[in-house]
């Protein structure tokens, strides 16, 4: 009975647009092989993390099929869409905001719920501020342990500026 009184999710049916998907692919990059990302974690395709730590010699440069890349991308996008849909239920996002939020959640799945939640009360400046804080990366060594202090990543700084832009415009 309790669910009968639940308010509708205002972003429950929204999906990532084609333009949003292109933007996400541009943000993440596209590689048809296993490679070490800037934090030294083994990655492939559209920023799909294979595992923490450097790729093994066998993995590095090993080709990955387009089919596997697209499956991983679709899974990551769906996960990110769900994070956004569950984080912002009470305020309808514009398509640009939703796309930017999905790009952010694809990159920072664990932090997106909290970062996006001010949108529920219309505090879009709060969302932009939160997004722009996620600019530090933690490189790993070959054993998968964090090596050295957190590093401010200029690429992340630019990406966050772009992702937060739709939340900084006047409604």
């Amino acid at each position: 009975m309790a669910t009968a009184n639940r308010r509708p999710n205002l972003n429950g049916t929204r999906r990532l647009s084609s333009a949003g998907l292109l933007s996400l692919q541009r943000n993440e990059g596209f590689r048809r092989t296993y490679y070490n990302d800037t934090a030294n974690n083994c990655t492939y395709g559209v920023g799909t993390l294979a595992h923490m730590g450097l790729c093994t010699n066998d993995e590095l440069g090993h080709p990955v099929s387009d089919r596997l890349i697209q499956i991983a991308l679709a899974r990551g996008v769906r996960q990110a869409e769900q994070v956004v849909q569950r984080a912002v239920t009470d305020h309808e996002l514009t398509q640009d905001q939703f796309d930017a939020a999905v790009s952010f959640a694809y990159n920072v799945p664990g932090g997106a719920h909290r970062a996006l939640s001010p949108a529920n009360t219309g505090d879009m400046a709060g969302v932009a501020r939160n997004m722009n804080r996620y600019i530090y990366e933690h490189p790993h060594d070959a054993q998968g342990r964090v090596s050295g202090p957190p590093r401010l990543n200029a690429g992340l700084l630019n990406r966050r500026r772009a992702e937060s832009a739709p939340f900084r415009v006047a409604p």
């Binding site: 990302d37 934090a39 974690n41 993390l49 595992h51 923490m52 730590g53 996960q79 994070v83 569950r86 984080a87 990159n107 920072v108 799945p109 664990g110 932090g111 719920h113 909290r114 939640s117 804080r133 996620y134 600019i135 530090y136 990366e137 933690h138 790993h140 998968g144 342990r145 964090v146 202090p149 957190p150 990543n153 992340l156």
Partner: protein, 137 residues
């Protein structure tokens, strides 16, 4: 006197055994003791360290971490392998989070996951992993 001491020792041992065999529960109030690791991407170190000393309150339908009160739709606890959860949800590994490879995990959807680490818990916020100890049930 000797018999009294023996009785006291037996009571203390029994109490210890009870404490050890009590089923672990995530519910209650916890205190954030330390930052133990990071996801691949996080906020700045100063902001992360600001959570140390704050309280976590885990209720039947909520996970409150510091001033962030998150309503959970569905709380489920089960013993699970941690590496797949950490990789998928946090872009992190077992060493980053400082949790066992297999442990009791509370899925506080959509507020995140809480991991059992001995008598303590590990959770993530803003790209940091924290260890917390129990204040009260």
């Amino acid at each position: 006197m000797r018999r009294g001491l023996l009785a006291l020792c037996m009571v203390a041992a029994a109490a210890g055994a009870n404490a050890a065999s009590e089923p672990f529960s995530f519910y209650g109030t916890w205190k954030v003791d330390k930052l133990v690791g990071y996801s691949e991407i996080s906020v700045g170190e100063d902001q992360l360290r600001g959570l140390i000393g704050k309280q976590i309150v885990i209720g039947k339908n909520s996970l409150k971490v510091g001033d962030d009160d998150c309503k959970a739709d569905n709380m489920r606890a089960a013993t699970r392998a941690t590496a797949p959860i950490l990789l998928r949800e946090y872009k992190a590994g077992v060493k980053d989070a400082g949790v066992p490879a297999r442990t009791l995990v509370l899925d506080a959807d959509p507020c995140g996951y809480v991991f059992r680490a001995g008598r303590e818990i590990v959770f993530s916020q803003d790209g940091g992993f924290y260890r917390a100890s129990r204040v009260k049930p």
